[in-house]
């Protein structure tokens, strides 16, 4: 007669789970006891993280790299609450993560028991769903339901909270559900509306300056090829949101970069000057469209392809709202375009955008003697790692530099916390990505502030032999906050500067990882190649000048046209 814990493990295995990131404690150790043999025979791998936030980030990185849900587990109370930041990060970026949290026994719930936290109350507004299992019979169905909810519609994290006394109970016969049963939940439909498709095709064909804006949904629906084919068919440019950067190979001649608050100026200008925009798998986020009025004033036509029907009815009125899976709808749209036939030659439009690209390049690629320039550091890293290497980032100036300068060459190889902007995402997400794609090189582009938030998980990377490389852009400050204080708070810089602690090389070595202090581009390249050769976790510390700015940027609440390209502190 299997126990509740055993049933849980079998339920997870039935969903294809191979890796669980977590930390055991009083309320979930029964799960660990149940999967001892699964680990010994290699059917499951457990990765003991050093903080539950990192467990959630690792599961998130696993999901983003692989396309299948990542799983994490934590005990009750502080274990569960430590998952909060990691799970809301996944929620805001529509990433499917399953979190199994232990809970105090049912007889103790609500009585301020030891290590009790109201998991339902904590998670219900920061995840896609949270369910408290009430009896052992519910485990198989709710695990199946959790995976179903997490992976359908707009993907997102789901928490399954299980009182630990249920883990000890036993069941005579387990009824394994064939299908999920979730009342009060529907998958968003994919609606092939021929009239709307025809209208959308007409808009694109008749437009003189059409453009595609690719978002995260292109990644989750694996629709990169369809975006490229449509763009090539119509000979039209592609830009992306920041997370949508992961969808489009940057060496494609029709791709002009990410637009938005810290995006590339030419991409934002292209967005503004277009007369028809096909938005695929993106919502009108305030980081992408920084001023809705500015976009509405362009009077352009909007076509939206989104899994979520109501995303097309938000701040900006959409002319054609195509609801459903991007991959399917793009194929149908391409057919509609072919049926109608091309009208306009967009060569002049593309030429204009190339001119913009060349024009703005003069602002991006400054070199200075005796200083490592972020754009050049990123270029050096890009040249040192394979095309299909996966890169994660923390949050901060380094992330913004990555947005502008990191060349994504394959889909699903750029993982960043773009919605919630969670510092500390980089290293554990890289670990998760490495376990999802063990044959790929995985690099965490991080900041000194961001890295230290979850850097203790370097111990896990070493112990578990997860050879990720962390490149720490070390400017000894919370650079992005400093930048805003410097530029927009009258240079009243306060509370952001770090001192000399720590020495990142010694820190890495203390964890048993490789540590490099790379003070030249050559040393960066050498360190990366050495670390890859050694196949060990490594930290490469790269000194960056504290005064370096993440540009382009906008003033607070600014419009895309107000882009700041030069350091305003140096005068014009």
């Amino acid at each position: 007669m299997p126990s509740g814990a055993r049933i849980l493990v079998d339920s997870l295995k039935r969903e294809g789970v191979k890796v669980i990131f977590g930390i055991p404690g009083l309320s979930n150790m029964q799960i660990y006891d149940a999967f001892v043999e699964d680990i010994q025979n290699g059917e499951l791998r457990h990765v003991l993280m050093r903080h539950e936030q990192a467990a959630a980030h690792a599961a998130d990185g696993y999901a983003r790299a692989s396309g299948v849900p990542g799983v994490c587990t934590a005990t009750s109370g502080p274990g569960a609450t430590n998952l909060v930041t990691g799970l809301i990060t996944a929620y805001w970026d529509s990433s499917p993560v399953i979190a199994i949290t232990g809970q105090v026994p049912r007889s103790s719930i609500g009585k301020m028991a030891f290590q009790e936290a109201d998991a339902m109350g904590v998670f219900e507004h920061i995840t896609k769903y949270v369910v408290e299992v009430k009896k052992i019979e519910e485990i198989p169905l709710w695990v199946k339901n959790a995976f179903y909810i997490a992976t359908t519609g707009r993907p997102g994290p789901v928490v399954v909270d299980i009182p630990r006394d249920i883990f000890y109970e036993k069941m005579d016969e387990v009824k394994w559900p064939e299908k999920p049963i979730v009342r009060g939940y529907k998958e968003f439909p994919t609606i092939i509306d021929r009239q709307k498709l025809k209208k959308a095709a007409e808009i694109l064909i008749n437009a003189e300056r059409p453009i595609i804006l690719a978002g995260t949904g292109v990644v989750w629906s694996n629709a990169t090829q369809e975006v490229l084919e449509l763009a090539e068919l119509l000979h039209m440019p592609i830009i992306s949101t920041f997370p949508g950067k992961s969808a489009i190979p940057h060496d494609h001649p029709l791709y002009f970069g990410p637009m938005g608050y810290y995006g590339r100026a030419e991409a934002s200008m292209a967005a503004l000057e277009s007369d028809a925009m096909l938005v695929v798998g993106a919502r009108f986020s305030d980081r992408t469209i920084t001023s809705y009025d500015e976009m509405i004033e362009t009077r352009k036509k909007f076509i939206m392809i989104n899994i979520d029907p109501s995303d097309g009815e938000r701040a900006i009125k959409v002319d054609v709202n195509l609801v459903g899976n991007a991959k399917i709808l793009l194929k149908e749209l391409a057919k509609a375009v072919i049926e109608l036939g091309m009208k306009n030659d967009h060569s002049a439009w593309l030429k204009r955008l190339k001119e913009y690209k060349e024009y703005y390049a003069q602002f991006y690629y400054h070199d200075e003697p005796n200083k490592l320039k972020p754009w050049k550091v990123l270029k050096t890293i890009r040249n040192a790692i394979p095309r299909d290497a996966i890169v994660t980032t923390g949050v901060g100036q380094h992330q913004m530099w990555a947005e502008v300068f990191w060349e994504v060459l394959e889909p699903r190889t750029f993982l960043s916390s773009t919605g919630m902007g969670t510092m500390g995402f980089g290293l554990p997400a890289a670990m998760g990505a490495k376990l999802a794609k063990p044959d790929k090189v995985v690099v965490d582009l991080d900041g000194d502030g961001s890295f230290l938030m979850t850097g203790n998980n370097l111990a896990t990377a070493v112990d578990e032999h997860i050879p990720v490389l962390s490149v720490v852009f070390d400017n000894r400050t919370l650079g992005l906050v400093r930048q805003v204080q410097d530029l927009f708070f009258n240079r009243r810089v306060v509370g952001v500067d770090y001192g000399p602690s720590p020495d990142f090389v010694k820190l890495a070595e203390a964890f048993g990882a490789l540590g490099y202090n790379a003070t030249s581009y050559e040393e960066i390249e050498k360190s990366i190649k050495a670390a890859i050769r050694e196949d060990m976790p490594a930290v490469i510390r790269v000194p960056i000048d504290k005064d370096e700015l993440a540009l382009p940027t906008l003033p607070p609440g600014g419009r895309l046209k107000q882009v700041i390209l030069r350091d305003p502190r140096k005068g014009s």
Binding site: M120, H125, K128, V182, E187, F188, P309
Partner: protein, 131 residues
């Protein structure tokens, strides 16, 4: 005077978290709830909630979000609702009256009368006239 919108939410109750999430859809958009009444409709957990919500610019977003909340089957906006207030006195008598007429331990029931419904369910919007 701020217009009050009347909303009916049909969903599946597994625990009181369901009610928290319905209310949370408005809280998260800085909206208020003037009144809320609900009950379990069936043994398998079908739950009906009526709410009187002061209209703000965030109303449409709140309703859309609510209609995409797991456990919520559908959200109905009773477009032309006129709300009649009934006061059930302590002695069980029912009078048509205003809320200020209710004393302690009297129950106030808000009864909307309407003919036009807009239904939102997982992003799909449909409308109908019920007469």
């Amino acid at each position: 005077m701020t217009q009050e919108k009347v909303v009916r939410v049909i969903g599946y109750y597994r625990d009181p978290g369901y009610i928290e999430r319905v209310a949370g859809a408005f809280r998260k958009l800085l909206m208020d709830i003037n009144w809320i009444q609900g009950r379990k409709v069936s043994d398998d957990g079908l739950y009906e909630i009526y709410l009187g919500v002061p209209y703000t610019n965030n109303f449409d977003i709140a309703i859309q979000n609510l209609s995409k909340t797991v456990d919520v089957e559908k959200v109905e906006v009773l477009e032309d609702a006129v709300v009649t207030t009934y006061v059930i006195k302590r002695d069980g008598s029912v009078v048509r009256g205003e809320t200020f007429e209710a004393k302690e331990y009297d129950i106030v029931v808000f009864k909307p009368s309407f003919s036009k419904i807009t239904t939102l369910s997982w992003g799909i919007v449909s409308g109908k006239n019920i007469y």
